[in-house]
């Protein structure tokens, strides 16, 4: 189809055309960026945790305080929890995946490094790997005889008896790849604090680190230490069981813990699945808002297209009649308006791409967002072309229905 007559006609409506192009450009720019933001949220929400989420429940108890029988109490609790039918493993952990806050520390591969190459989460608690269901890719799990109480660690640190500390640690694949790219990580040393060396004895496939602020790059930088936890604020019992038993096991566990000491307070309890879902609730709400804005934008823009196209059709009633009288088919007229819309939308999209890129740059500078992948641009373009064609269809069909006899009327 020859587009020259269309362009000539459009030049006679510069203002309205410019407005439509501008509107499509803004919509395109914002829709591209919104879809990108939605994608970012979805990526966050679908992060791999590396743990057996469906098979875990947890109970966080209030700090018992400084009791002399604290350790015996914990041993009794764990024994009680493990005796519940269906429970496969239980552990007292210093922090859980999908907690809002987190314990972290700097990791060096050489004590002389001025700036640590990475910062990782610090998981502690006997029997952690088995309880959380973390998969070891290489090496071995920590051995029971390697574990030492946290209070003993503190004493050794304050007495500077560093050689008596356990010297082994587990790290994740992501950490190994970052610290020693392309090399074997097993047997290598990481340095912590004032240059204390720890040997990597196992590499875990994945283990997500807790902390809302840690969800960006390096989300899998976690370490597991052979340290036994006392009951402190933030520590929680993690209990592993079959997925279908979770609710029942959680109920029984609470009864059991209450029976062992009726005076303590349960701060938090839930299944790990729910814990994960709660962790991402803000992201979910934000995704909903972004989707709603996106839809509202597209609706308003398509209403604008419908309005302008209807106006044009009614304004050109007579010329349509003339064309029809001169032999143009209904299809010709229909395609004329469709092509016109396609041209305007394309101009809008071209301008919109530049704007979209600009908005993305702004977001990169102000909100530390990554660069938008180029794949989002064609997605935005396709959506707008589709919206444009859908919106113009009604007015174009009305135009096609104009009978040739209109040409003979004066007004």
């Amino acid at each position: 189809m020859d587009i020259r007559p269309i362009l000539i006609t459009l030049r006679r409506h510069k203002f309205t055309c410019c407005l439509l192009v501008l509107q499509i450009a803004f919509t395109c720019a914002i829709v591209c960026n919104t879809i990108f933001l939605i994608g970012q949220r979805l990526d966050r929400m679908h992060v791999v945790s590396g743990i057996a989420e469906q098979e875990l429940v947890y109970v966080e108890l209030a700090d018992i305080g400084t009791r002399t029988d604290g350790d015996a109490r914990i041993a009794a609790d764990l024994a009680g929890l493990q005796s519940i039918p269906g429970v496969k493993a239980a552990a007292l952990l210093n922090q859980l995946p999908f907690n809002l806050g987190s314990d972290n520390f700097d990791v060096r591969t050489d004590p002389a490094q001025r700036i640590a190459p990475l910062n990782a989460a610090q998981y502690m608690g006997e029997n952690l790997v088995k309880t959380l269901g973390v998969r070891l890719e290489e090496g071995r799990d920590l051995r029971p005889e390697e574990y030492i109480d946290l209070s003993a660690v503190n004493t050794l640190l304050s007495q500077k008896q560093y050689d008596k500390l356990p010297a082994v640690v587990l790290i994740t694949r992501a950490m190994a790849d970052r610290l020693w790219p392309g090399q074997e990580a097993l047997g290598k040393q990481i340095y912590v604090g004032q240059g204390l060396p720890f040997t990597v004895v196992g590499v875990m496939a994945n283990l997500i680190r807790p902390g809302m602020d840690r969800m960006g790059p390096g989300v899998q930088y976690s370490t597991v230490w052979p340290i036994r936890m006392p009951m402190l604020s933030g520590t929680a019992y993690a209990i592993r069981c079959a997925a279908q038993d979770c609710d029942q096991v959680l109920k029984t566990a609470l009864v059991k813990l209450k029976k062992l000491d009726p005076n303590r307070i349960v701060l938090e309890k839930d299944t790990m699945e729910q814990h994960r879902s709660d962790f991402f609730q803000n992201d979910r709400a934000m995704t909903g808002i972004l989707v709603a804005v996106c839809i509202a934008l597209l609706v308003v823009t398509s209403l604008g297209i419908v309005g302008l196209a209807s106006f044009w059709v009614s304004q050109r009633n007579r010329s349509i009649g003339v064309r029809r009288a001169l032999g143009a088919t209904r299809g010709n007229i229909l395609r004329y308006f469709q092509t016109e819309n396609f041209l305007l939308t394309t101009m809008g999209i071209a301008l919109g791409m530049v704007l979209a890129y600009g908005i993305n740059l702004f977001l990169i500078v102000h909100y530390e967002l990554p660069r938008m992948p180029v794949t989002y641009f064609p997605v935005g373009a396709l959506i707008l072309w589709a919206i444009g064609q859908a919106a113009v269809l009604g007015p174009a069909l009305r135009a096609a229905a104009v009978p040739p006899v209109v040409a003979t009327r004066t007004v």
Binding site: L19, A62, Q194, A296, V300, S314, Y367
Partner: protein, 433 residues
């Protein structure tokens, strides 16, 4: 004349109900979205203590070693170690000064039927109440002497007083905290500055309900209360917080005027240099930020809210462009009518006015409907899981600004079509008709 324009505008709008409806709806959606997010943003970035904020300053020093800095971009640590906080507190160089940390506090009601429960506690020092103008219902705060003597006294929030004592004057009664008896010396009126400026980085919420229990810092530590947030800058026993190389306290000072502020700044500089000389610090930078500056620097308003506001206003922009297009279409369609009016003696200004009145009518209708959408939007925000959800309320200021935004938006949208209408040459139009 205005009445005539109004009548003409109404007639014109009525003639094309669908188009008018589309314009009003689009404008209302844009205004509703913008006002919803603007209300949230305004309430989140508001001044938590309007009468006092200019006198309040947050103090930061940096005890971190050079090779393991707090931040690679040179930011100062958020919190302060106990040693520094006590040094500054005892120096007493500001009109008022207080150190504070948050702690989960276990309360055991006297009434044996009520089970023990946890509450949000603030461990702080005597000046806290005077410095932040905390309002008391009964009693008062404690003195610096109580701090030093580790007195077992406590100030509680009105809500907790209602829960435990049915709202009666509970001053002098006993509150069991952990397994220790504390004497209540003050009950607060409802007090929850938004945002909770004094507890940024202390591990609590930034917005929402206020804290319930206020304890003298040393007394709380004496019974083993731990801060929620703790950052260590070297290895050490985290249980012995008074000597540990850990930062866990926020430190605020009240400086009544700029002279006092600059005097304090130089005192702080001296202090930091002295600590460097002693070998405790390796960096001689210190921070003294006014309350509002501190909130801005720490970006207390969530990024989500900023992004939402940006999107809503972009949406409004698109709605305005949309309205311009539709108004323009309408005006071009009426070229014959305009030409007749011009031929009968209406001036360009009169035509311009007529179209602006029509546009502002659309704007007013859009504003009214937009208000409904804004209320709906805020209702949705209140049902969100965010901690600031309950703050999303439309106040009079926002109510008025909704109409201001609607009017401005529609007038902007109306200018181009009105100008086109009045610039039209009447003769050719009349001829063809």
């Amino acid at each position: 004349m205005f009445g005539y324009y109004l009548d003409m505008a109404l007639r014109s709008l009525k003639r094309n109900r669908v188009l008018t409806g589309l314009m009003v709806l689009a404008l209302a959606l844009g205004i509703g979205a913008s006002m919803t997010t603007l209300t949230v943003f305004a309430s989140l970035s508001a001044d938590p203590l309007p009468e006092k904020s200019s006198q309040l300053f947050y103090v930061q020093v940096d005890p971190y070693p050079k090779n393991e800095p707090f931040s690679r971009s040179g930011k100062l640590p958020w919190l302060m170690s106990y040693i520094d906080a006590m040094n500054l507190l005892h120096a007493g160089r500001a009109e008022r000064q207080a150190a504070m940390a948050l702690s989960k506090v276990k309360l055991t009601p006297e009434n044996a039927q009520q089970r023990p429960f946890f509450s949000d506690g603030v461990m702080t020092t005597a000046d806290f109440f005077g410095m932040f103008d905390v309002p008391f219902q009964y009693g008062s705060g404690w003195s610096a002497g109580d701090d030093e003597a580790r007195a077992k006294v406590v100030v509680i929030a009105g809500l907790l007083n209602d829960r435990l004592f049915g709202g009666a004057n509970s001053v002098g009664r006993i509150l069991r905290i952990g397994d220790q008896a504390f004497r209540i010396i003050g009950v607060l009126r409802p007090w929850a500055p938004q945002p909770h400026f004094y507890s940024l980085y202390l591990g609590g919420r930034d917005y929402g309900a206020g804290d319930a229990v206020f304890l003298p810092l040393q007394s709380a530590r004496a019974i083993g209360q731990m801060p929620i947030n703790l950052f260590s800058y070297a290895a050490g026993d985290k249980q012995k917080l008074e000597t540990a190389p850990s930062t866990w306290l926020g430190f605020w000072v009240q400086l009544p005027n700029t002279e006092a502020a600059s005097a304090y700044r130089s005192f702080l500089g001296d202090y930091v240099r002295q600590q460097v000389a002693l070998g405790r610090f390796q960096r001689s930078d210190a921070g003294l930020s006014s309350l509002m500056q501190w909130l801005r620097d720490q970006k207390v308003v969530p990024d989500n809210v900023r992004v939402q506001m940006g999107m809503a206003f972009s949406f409004l922009l698109i709605c305005i462009v949309n309205t311009v297009g539709l108004l323009l279409a309408k005006c071009l369609r009426r070229s014959a009518e305009i030409s007749v009016r011009r031929a009968l003696g209406a001036s360009r200004a009169a035509i311009f006015m007529q179209f602006m009145v029509e546009a502002s009518l659309v704007g007013m209708a859009g504003g009214l409907l937009g208000l409904v959408f804004a209320e709906l939007g805020l209702w949705c925000i209140r049902r969100q899981p965010a901690e600031y959800a309950s703050l999303a309320q439309l106040d009079v200021r926002m109510f008025v600004s909704t109409f201001a935004v609607a009017l401005v938006a529609s007038l902007i949208a109306g200018i181009l079509p009105a100008w086109r209408a009045c610039a039209m040459a009447p003769a050719p139009q009349l001829k063809s008709a």
